[in-house]
């Protein structure tokens, strides 16, 4: 039980520490920027955060964490006391310290292995040199190790020295109990005024910790004659689990009289004689022989190597501190190390309450809630939504409508929706928690790259679901780093370009259309799509033909390809070719997409569009093979119904893919049943029962009997026919691309509760989760991106084809040429064209005349063996039917009649304006494609085809 409790306490400590560390960084950057003019509250905030980390680290025994935060705290105190100026040389090691603390907190079990001494030494050097970071500067207190430095610094801090003594066993016991050490300063008047006896004082102390030692400032007691009039001072070495501020409340002792000590500060050698002269920095006491004792005690304490007073109690500046209100307090000596650990001057705060670290948030009441508890609440809210849905469905079927039940259910419906909404809000976090780290990233990058960069941020309060926030950090970091490294020019280059030497990055978050947009805009050099294209070509990411067909926007989008990098050299910052593809992948995983706008010389804007939450999403319920699935509406563009009679005319094939001609655009089609390995069904109009749909291809028509039946039914019931035989196509978007998903049935839209997939379904990329429907059945949530990837359809290619088609149509008048074409079939569902001008002869022949030598086919033609070319042997097209008896021989002019191309059927000759689209000219032998007589037609390039067949276009056959 103890270990469980400890674990939860440690977790709490880690959570708090992370929060502290995330808040420290921007404050340090402000401190660096504003220098001495920084709002004191910012310095106090950093101080408090570091102090809290240090205190808790000590409590849990994380020594490295504690030591580093301690020395950071010391430096911060000097800054707060205006003894050290917060210039960049001072802030830099503090930021590095924050990095180290982050590393330690990130892996607390191995925190002791994090190397931090270099940073600690830099901080100590600054402390020792009164703000100078030059390590070569002579340092009076610099010693070979930290432990030796501490007492020397401490011993001079107030002009006096302390030495407590405790048994090693006692100290070990305190450590193991997680107690911290404190020096409690008491005055005899404290007890006499309160009529408190030493016995009751001891009882009080023992109830909060352990008294380890007591030292009397004997000088303050005077001699026998004067002792009863003196207000003597004594100090108690006290170990407690309480923090100093709580201890102050518990003991009724002013906070400035409680000083945190480290264990190394306490003499533990039993042979060490206790020091007689004892004094803490009594604020109102005097020491007759302080000056005399200082010198000797310095030596003694240095030898023991153990004394150091920690600055304390920054959290609640106390009115009780005499120093705080003593105007005649001698100014601290900035060159003297004694100032380093002197008790901080507490700022008089008219409001003694603990200040909120975040100004302006005082009125916000909040509690810390465990994420797993929130998740559980979210799950329960989801269950309630599902039960509500079931209830609604049940009640809607209930015939006893007059019972008043429907009103109750309506109320439950409303309350459930509201409950769910509010619980969802608990998961929402401001995106500022991610943005917060970028000032540091930009600052460090600017220094590293010798650039001047300003980061402007807005919309930090825009809220997103926690899970999305967590996944956004990496992609945004990549984008920001890329902006710094690639986009923004060095100052000289910017100056030459007439730009301000300081480059600007604007990071914005804003709502739009129910989604969150995050834009990263820079005023850098922009993205040169030609350079991107050439780099992609050089890296074999695209072919030259593909590149030639690409639009500038498509070329820019090549930066998201895995392995793409334009950096000439690999640097620490970037140039490894990873990053932008990760950005795109991560954003896509979140159900979002990324868009790039760029202008050469002006800058670039990356815009991420993201859903607000992933927990409960509106979805369209669809059916396939009598099973239901949920399609997130965020991916849904529109629904298209293709009537059975239109299927043949509107659905065509492009390579191996079926495409739908939709408003002049080509939309690749995927059948969900095929992807999921389910039987395709349709509802038999006669029986009303689902029956297997035997159409092999999407574009296939039903059998004649089915058509006959359909025609009959069409006359009787058009709607019914439509439901049974038409194609329901969900037009889905994945990023900037779209595709059509054919489903059997469409149901209603529903807000579904996303439940994660169990471990053994995680590999099913076509599903993003599962949900429970109103009737209690489970429905899988479809992942359009996964479906597309699984189908093997190259969406980008077809999308590019689509755009090219648009462009081609726009430029048709300018680029068209009138050609006379011979249209023919090979397979009966594919149409080919060859310009009549390129044909030498066209003849019909009987397939039985074909002779074979090896795998080659010949036709005896005018006394010679004429090599035959079957299109399916060289091109990605369907084969000619085996039942073909007669065929046609197309002898091209190329090669002077050296070979013949086989066609199964001649369709016609047409004279038409054609704009050839080369996107399908992936195989040599195909010139391109065009729509001829409303059909997609592949144009054969005889010369290329002959070459592929190994036939010289100058006559003769090459050997294979």
């Amino acid at each position: 039980m103890d270990s469980l409790m400890d674990e939860s306490l440690i977790q709490e400590f880690l959570t708090e520490s992370r929060e502290h560390l995330s808040s420290i960084e921007p404050d340090l950057l402000t401190l660096e920027k504003d220098g001495a003019n920084t709002d004191p509250e910012i310095i106090n905030r950093v101080f408090r955060a570091i102090h809290s980390i240090k205190g808790a680290a000590g409590f849990f025994g994380f020594e490295a964490l504690k030591k580093l935060s301690h020395v950071m705290e010391n430096l911060l105190m000097q800054i707060r006391e205006h003894r050290i100026s917060p210039n960049p040389a001072v802030i830099e090691p503090l930021l590095l310290g924050v990095d180290k603390l982050n590393l330690m907190v990130g892996d607390i079990q191995n925190s002791e292995t994090v190397p931090y001494m270099d940073v600690a030494e830099r901080l100590e050097t600054i402390l020792a040199n009164g703000g100078a970071s030059d390590t070569s500067a002579p340092s009076t207190s610099k010693t070979s190790n930290n432990a030796a430095q501490e007492p020397q610094t401490a011993s001079t801090m107030s002009g006096h020295s302390n030495e407590f003594y405790a048994e090693p066993d006692q100290l070990e016991g305190c450590k193991s109990r997680g107690q911290s050490l404190f020096a409690l300063e008491y005055h005899t008047s404290d007890l006499t005024q309160n009529q408190q006896s030493p016995f009751t004082l001891m009882e009080q102390l023992h109830s909060f910790g352990v008294v380890l030692d007591c030292m009397w400032e004997t000088e303050t007691f005077g001699n026998l004659e004067t002792c009863l009039e003196k207000d003597g001072t004594f100090q108690i070495l006290f170990a407690s689990v309480l923090e100093a501020d709580l201890l102050s409340q518990a003991l009724g002792l002013p906070e400035n009289r409680i000083k945190a000590l480290t264990f190394s500060m306490v003499g533990s050698n039993p042979q060490t004689p206790p020091l007689v002269t004892v004094s803490a920095a009594s604020t109102n006491g005097t020491m007759a022989n302080a000056a005399a004792s200082e010198g000797s005690l310095k030596t003694e304490t240095a030898a023991i190597g153990s004394v150091m007073m920690a600055p304390e109690l920054p959290e609640t500046p106390s009115q009780e501190s005499p120093r705080a209100s003593t105007p005649n307090q001698p100014p601290p000596m900035s060159t003297d190390n004694s100032s380093v650990h002197e008790e901080p001057k507490a700022k008089v705060d008219p409001q003694p309450q603990r200040k909120s670290p975040n100004p302006g948030s005082e009125s916000m009441e909040s509690v810390r809630v465990r994420v797993d508890l929130l998740n559980k609440l979210m799950d329960l809210a989801g269950e309630m939504v599902l039960s509500r849905n079931q209830l609604l469905r049940t009640v809607s079927k209930d015939e006893t409508q007059g019972s008043g039940l429907s009103n109750i259910v309506q109320n439950i419906d409303l309350i459930t929706s509201e409950l769910q909404e509010h619980i969802m809000q608990t998961r929402m976090q401001p995106i500022g928690s991610v943005f917060g780290k970028f000032p540091r990233v930009v600052r460090d990058m600017a220094r590293q790259l010798n650039k001047e960069i300003e980061l402007q941020m807005s919309g930090e309060d825009v809220e997103l679901d926690k899970s999305i926030i967590e996944s956004l950090s990496d992609p945004l970091t990549h984008l920001i780093r890329n902006c710094c490294d690639h986009a923004l020019e060095p100052p000289e280059e910017r100056k030459k370009a007439g730009k301000p030497t300081t480059g600007t990055i604007i990071l914005r978050a804003f709502h739009q259309d129910g989604q969150i947009n995050i834009s990263i805009t820079d005023d850098g050099r922009g993205i040169d799509h030609h350079k991107i294209g050439q780099k992609a070509l050089k890296n074999n990411l695209v072919t030259e033909a593909e590149l030639n067909r690409m639009s500038p926007q498509e070329m820019v989008n090549l930066i998201f390809l895995p392995g793409f990098s334009t950096a000439e050299t690999i640097s620490e910052v970037s140039g490894r070719g990873v990053g932008m593809d990760v950005v795109k992948t991560n954003i896509t995983k979140l159900g979002g997409h990324i868009h790039t706008d760029t202008e050469i010389g002006k800058g670039t804007t990356f815009t991420l569009r993201l859903p607000l939450t992933l927990a409960i999403i509106p979805s369209l319920i669809v059916g396939v093979s009598n099973q239901r699935f949920a399609m997130p509406q965020i991916n849904l563009v529109e629904l298209v119904c293709i009537r059975a009679t239109e299927i043949a005319s509107r659905i065509e094939r492009v390579g191996s893919a079926s495409v739908l001609r939709l408003r002049g655009k080509l939309l690749p089609l995927i059948r969900l049943a095929d992807i999921l390995g389910l039987e395709r069904t349709y509802t038999d109009p006669a029986s009303g029962q689902p029956k297997p749909d035997r159409r092999r291809e999407i574009g296939d028509k039903r059998k004649a009997t089915e058509h006959h039946l359909l025609e009959m039914l069409e006359k009787r019931d058009t709607n019914r026919r439509r439901q049974n035989s038409d194609y329901n196509i969900l037009v889905l978007k994945v990023g900037v691309n779209q595709f059509g998903l054919i489903v059997d049935e469409l149901f209603d839209t529903e807000e579904i509760v996303v439940k994660p997939l169990s471990g053994y379904l995680k590999q099913c990329k076509c599903f993003s989760g599962a949900t429970i429907m109103g009737d209690g059945r489970v429905a899988m949530i479809l992942d359009p991106g996964g479906i597309l990837a699984y189908s093997g359809v190259s969406l980008e290619e077809i999308d590019a084809e689509k755009r090219r088609l648009e462009e081609a149509q726009n430029n048709k008048a300018a680029n068209t040429t009138k050609r006379t074409l011979l249209l023919f079939h090979n397979a009966l569902d594919e149409i080919f064209a060859v310009p009549l001008s390129s044909i030498l002869r066209l003849e019909k022949f009987n397939m039985d005349r074909i002779e074979r030598i090896g795998h080659k086919e010949f036709l005896t033609y005018y006394g010679k063996g004429l090599p035959l070319i079957r299109l399916e042997h060289y091109l990605s097209v369907n084969p000619m039917p085996h039942t073909q008896e007669d065929a046609y021989l197309i002898i091209p002019k190329d090669g002077n009649g050296a070979a013949g191309i086989i066609a199964s059927r001649i369709i016609d000759t047409v004279e038409t304006d054609v704009v050839l689209d080369s996107s399908l000219a992936t195989d040599r032998g195909i010139e391109g494609s065009a729509i001829v007589n409303d059909h997609l037609t592949l144009f054969i390039e005889p010369n290329g085809l002959l070459e592929r067949a190994g036939i010289s276009t100058h006559g003769g056959t090459h050997g294979h």
């Binding site: 006896s197 030493p198 007591c214 009397w216 007691f221 026998l224 004659e225 002792c227 009863l228 003597g232």
Partner: protein
Amino acid sequence: MTQPSQGLTIEVSEILRQNQAKLLQEHLCHSLATKMPSSITLDLTRTTDVDMAGIQLLLGLFNTCQERGLTVQIDIASPKLRDLFKTLGLTKRVAIREVSLHG
């Protein structure tokens, strides 16, 4: 000039608080001035209750004796008092002898 006497033992009452401390202070001052003892033993074997004034008096006495080179010893019997002195570190400053009243 008065010669130092051997040793001075002063018995302290059961209670050593403000009033008693004041009286004891006067008595000690007078004794030191008149008897010039080489050592002082405070017999606190009957004493069970001490307040801060009592502690102040003891510390004042220690300082004076230290200045004058006198040795101080305190006899105590009360475990409660012994624990208090120990906790307060007085045992580091002066010889404290525990005396059992039960022989």
